[in-house]
């Protein structure tokens, strides 16, 4: 829609508000996803979306209204409804007001015209490339090809104005045989450089090796985790490195800032990483700081949004998510710093262990101890004498993630750019993570395939 159009929508909304303070946020998206399974496209969607969210403050009374009617009447109605609702709400004495303009440092561009111009036929051709690669190896293919354009605009009555357009393109392939499967994913801001062939090669080669998995007894094993699995660990741990998690007593770093909490790894939230999905501001239009959250195993910082910072007397680090009382902030540009070993060297250094491609259906068992349960999926292998020996049936694990990182034996030298699960539309987060070698990971059960 462009900066001028979004600015106009925000200005009209702020002008129509009856309140002490107001905020207008517009998220505009043009999202397309071509999905295939059984080696054919079966779902193929294009959606144009744009929403305005108006937040109105009257003293300590706050209310929000969201609409996708962005004509003058729709904007006016949303502003008016939020204003009326704010009059009716009881006061929230902990509300600290909307944040003011703190200036923004420019971030690298995250917009690539070539991605915005991608057509249904472009995506279908990429899907066909993935399906054909699987078929050549006598495998079936399932996955997707996606291109997204998003614009984010934030304005408030205290002078905040922030605007950022962004593009992403990604492919995902599960290559499936009669008895075994494997998974690969690639993501790029630029559809023209999206590594579709590399994705196909990785999944197909691994799936070929994954056929006819054997039983391996559950228990505590040394593991090599591919970046897809590491992403899951970092996502869970990142969700606990927030001011709210500390305030609510459920973070593993409570009372431990400055202390060793895990192994020799460094976790950074870097909104300006040009190899990630950079964005200079958070969802309140506040400047997002680069923060070292864990440095060589020592807890250093957690992230804040304006309200959690106000309640707890902390500094706002500019990590607000869309207003959400259950998770108002999060580190959104996490990077687990690389080590010095290639993936092959990590495997070679493992005498006996398990290689895990990705985790599936991971859920908290106990947040304070960061205990998570989940399954392995799409490529699990036994490692013997520094080599991938044979595929094994999938495990259930029940494991404290920060305890597992406490036994870090090696960190991969290459970082994969991944998004936290599949996302459509507003992609607020990205991760850059390496493969890891961990001394102990507890598999508490196994499944039948």
């Amino acid at each position: 829609m462009g900066e001028t159009a979004l600015r106009s929508i925000c200005d009209k909304a702020l002008a129509a508000v009856d309140g002490d303070q107001a905020e207008a946020v517009v998220i505009a998206r043009n999202a397309a996803l071509t999905r295939f399974a059984n080696a054919a496209i079966h779902q193929n969607v294009v959606s144009r979306e744009a929403q305005l969210r108006v937040r109105v403050v009257r003293g300590k009374r706050v209310a929000m209204v969201t609409t996708d009617r962005l004509d003058d009447e729709g904007i006016r109605r949303a502003a008016s409804e939020a204003s009326e609702l704010a009059k009716l709400t009881p006061e929230n004495p902990t509300f600290g007001g909307l944040p003011g303009d703190r200036g923004l440092r420019p971030a690298p561009s995250a917009f690539v015209e070539r991605t915005a111009d991608a057509t249904p036929l472009d995506r279908a051709r990429a899907a066909k490339q993935l399906c054909d690669a699987a078929r050549t190896a006598s495998l079936s293919a399932a996955g997707y090809v996606s291109t997204n354009v998003q614009e984010l605009a934030i304005a408030n009555s205290r002078g905040v104005w922030a605007y950022a357009p962004a593009t992403t393109s990604d492919v995902e392939l599960a290559a499936l045989g009669d008895a075994g499967s494997a998974f690969a994913q690639r993501l790029s801001l630029d559809f023209g450089t999206l590594d579709v062939a590399g994705c196909a090669q990785e999944a197909v080669e691994k799936a070929t090796a994954a056929q006819k998995p054997r039983d391996l007894a559950p228990g505590t094993h040394e593991v090599i985790l591919e970046p897809y699995a590491v992403r899951d660990m970092i996502s869970f741990l990142g969700s606990q490195l927030t001011g709210l998690a500390v305030e609510e007593g459920r973070s593993f770093v409570i009372g431990k800032l400055g202390q060793k909490v895990t192994g020799d790894v460094t976790l950074v939230d870097d909104p300006f990483d040009p190899k990630g999905l950079p964005r200079a501001f958070d969802l309140e239009g506040q400047p997002s700081e680069r923060l070292v959250l864990i440095e060589r195993g020592v807890a250093k910082a957690v992230v804040y949004d304006s309200q959690t910072a106000h309640r707890t007397g902390a500094k706002n680090t500019g990590h607000a998510l869309p207003p959400n009382p259950f998770q108002p902030s999060a580190p959104m540009h996490l990077r687990l710093e690389p080590g010095g070993k290639t993936r092959e060297e990590l495997i070679k250094s493992c005498k006996r262990g398990v290689l895990v491609t990705r985790f599936w259906y991971t859920r908290w068992v106990h947040q304070l101890r960061t205990i998570v349960t989940g399954m392995t999926r799409d490529g699990t292998f036994a490692i013997e004498d520094g080599q991938i020996a044979y595929p094994v049936k999938n495990f259930r694990f029940t494991q404290s993630y920060h305890d597992a990182l406490g036994g870090t034996l090696g960190v991969g030298s290459e970082l994969a750019l991944l998004v936290p699960g599949e996302q459509f539309g507003l992609q607020v987060s990205s991760y850059r993570v390496p493969a890891l070698r961990l001394a102990a990971f507890t598999f508490t059960g196994a499944t039948q395939y």
């Binding site: 399974a37 496209i41 079966h42 193929n44 744009a50 209204v65 996955g143 259906y361 304070l368």
Partner: protein, 488 residues
């Protein structure tokens, strides 16, 4: 209900799609109004109202599927979106192996509205919020040491209009109401939670405000608060033992959702969710013969039952709501189907295609998939009938593999059962198993008086992601020789 403006645009879009070469097209207009309110620690933390409104065109052209959506409600946009949906379908045909086929359905002109007693949108905002403030205060008053208290509700109204190139014209208005309270405690190296009436999110039904009132939050708040605090010093659940387990009604509903509701989705069984949600151990060759559970296990698929989140007049392909069985006397007998997947089985659709708003493609979703009551009496009767075991109440953690076999659940609280009596409170209870073995060990299901229609308003599926609202009735049930206590 949506009216002539939307109907005219829908007809225009259908005409454009046909002109562009679509052999089938449907158009859905959806207007969804939602209000979410949260009281936390005595204060109104969040008031969030949304009104989303748009349309989507779904087409078959060159034997393949296309879909496009937009919130811009003009004639020109209807033309653009319809033409784009056809263009997308033609691109899909690049990989076509066989043409899309749909099971027949009689096109109807119809309307449907959720029956409600108290329209939440007509009452005062203040009276809704008061319910939360009172409940939150009752928790804090009972246990001032609680770290966090929450009380929340969601009210929902969705107006839908569906027109198809086959002649269907269906208008529906669906209402939902959900509410819950939560008490969280911290101490003794523990963080514990109790929620009511269901687990983490909300318990929700297709209903009016009467659903929020029925749970009597103020009366139940002290018990929930006290249990949350007691859990900090409760005995740890025994580790890695095998014993009998009685699951509460609200835990059994999630067990059903994960280990029966998802594997009976025919799209999963046919492989079209293989890369993301996964496939199913309930493969098509097992239909009608596979022993899913014991003879006590009867699981219904019923989108007509009052109150369920899967209750409606017609699905998003214009197929009427229906009743049937997924599991009868322990045997797997039925799938959740779309028109396309039903055609591949030579069957008629049972009407389970639903989309998350106007911008998403309809997918096979659970309607109301319910464990039907047995004859074991009340929960107290069932406990009295159990010599040794653990009663587990209200979900805290859930995970299952991508074929829906290996699962692990944790509940918020457990109680040891000794000689027919509920005794010691247990914290961090978990249990794990393999789906057909677990349901095969079911030896009792409580009677109709204990049966509750629960709602799951947070079921994720699909790429792009969609959140589905599904219904599940359940009564407490007992399972034998279950592996308990996976983690300390």
């Amino acid at each position: 209900m949506l009216g002539s403006v939307e109907r005219d645009l829908a007809r225009r879009a259908l005409d454009t799609a046909r002109t562009r070469g679509a052999t089938y097209a449907d158009v859905r207009f959806v207007r969804r109004s939602v209000e979410d309110v949260l009281v936390k620690n005595g204060h109104l933390e969040n008031v969030d109202r949304s009104d989303t409104y748009g349309f989507a065109v779904r087409t078959i052209a060159d034997g393949a599927w296309g879909f496009a959506a937009s919130p811009v409600l003009t004639a020109a946009e209807a033309d653009r979106v319809a033409a784009l949906a056809v263009e997308v379908a033609r691109a899909s045909a690049l990989t076509k192996r066989e043409g899309a086929r749909l099971a027949a359905v009689k096109p109807v002109t119809a309307t449907y509205t959720t029956p409600i007693e108290i329209d939440p949108w007509s009452m005062s905002f203040d009276s809704r919020v008061t319910l939360l403030l009172d409940a939150d205060a009752a928790m804090k008053q009972a246990q001032p040491t609680l770290r966090t208290t929450r009380a929340s509700y969601e009210i929902w109204k969705e107006e839908k209009l569906f027109l198809s190139s086959e002649g269907a014209d269906i208008a529906q208005t669906l209402y939902e109401t959900g509410a819950s309270i939560a008490a969280e405690s911290v101490g003794n190296g523990e963080q514990q939670i109790r929620t009511y009436p269901g687990s983490g999110g909300r318990s929700q039904n297709t209903a009016g405000w009467e659903y929020a009132l029925k749970w009597d939050f103020v009366a139940n708040a002290p018990r929930i608060a006290e249990e949350a605090v007691a859990l900090l010093t409760a005995q740890q659940c025994p580790q890695d033992i095998r014993t009998s387990v009685i699951l509460s009604s609200n835990q059994l509903m999630l067990q059903c959702h994960e280990s029966c509701g998802h594997p009976i989705e025919l799209d999963r069984a046919l492989g079209t969710e293989a890369a993301f949600a996964g496939t199913s151990f309930l493969t098509t060759d097992r239909l009608g013969t596979f022993r899913y559970g014991s003879e006590h296990v009867n699981i219904a698929i019923d989108s007509t039952r009052k109150g369920g989140l899967g209750t409606f007049g017609y699905d998003d392909e214009g197929v009427p709501a229906s009743e049937g069985w997924a599991v009868k006397d322990g045997i797997f007998v039925g799938y959740l189907m779309s028109r396309e997947t039903a055609a591949s089985m030579g069957k008629a659709s049972n009407g389970t295609m639903r989309a998350d708003g106007w911008s998403r493609l309809p997918l096979i979703r659970m309607t109301n998939v319910s464990v039907m009551p047995g004859s074991a009496g009340t929960l107290e009767d069932l406990i009295a009938d159990t010599d040794d075991g653990i009663y587990m109440d209200t979900n805290r953690s859930w995970s299952i593999d991508d074929r829906r076999l290996n699962f692990q659940f944790g509940t918020q609280v457990g109680w040891q059962i000794k000689n027919g009596k509920r005794t010691t409170m247990l914290r961090n209870p978990t249990y794990t198993g393999i789906t057909p073995e677990f349901w095969g060990s079911c030896d009792a299901v409580c009677s109709e008086s204990e049966w509750v229609m629960w709602g799951t308003p947070n079921c994720g599926k699909g790429q792009p992601g969609q959140i589905g609202h599904t219904g599940h009735g359940a009564a407490p049930a007992r399972f034998t020789n279950v592996r308990v206590g996976v983690v300390s």
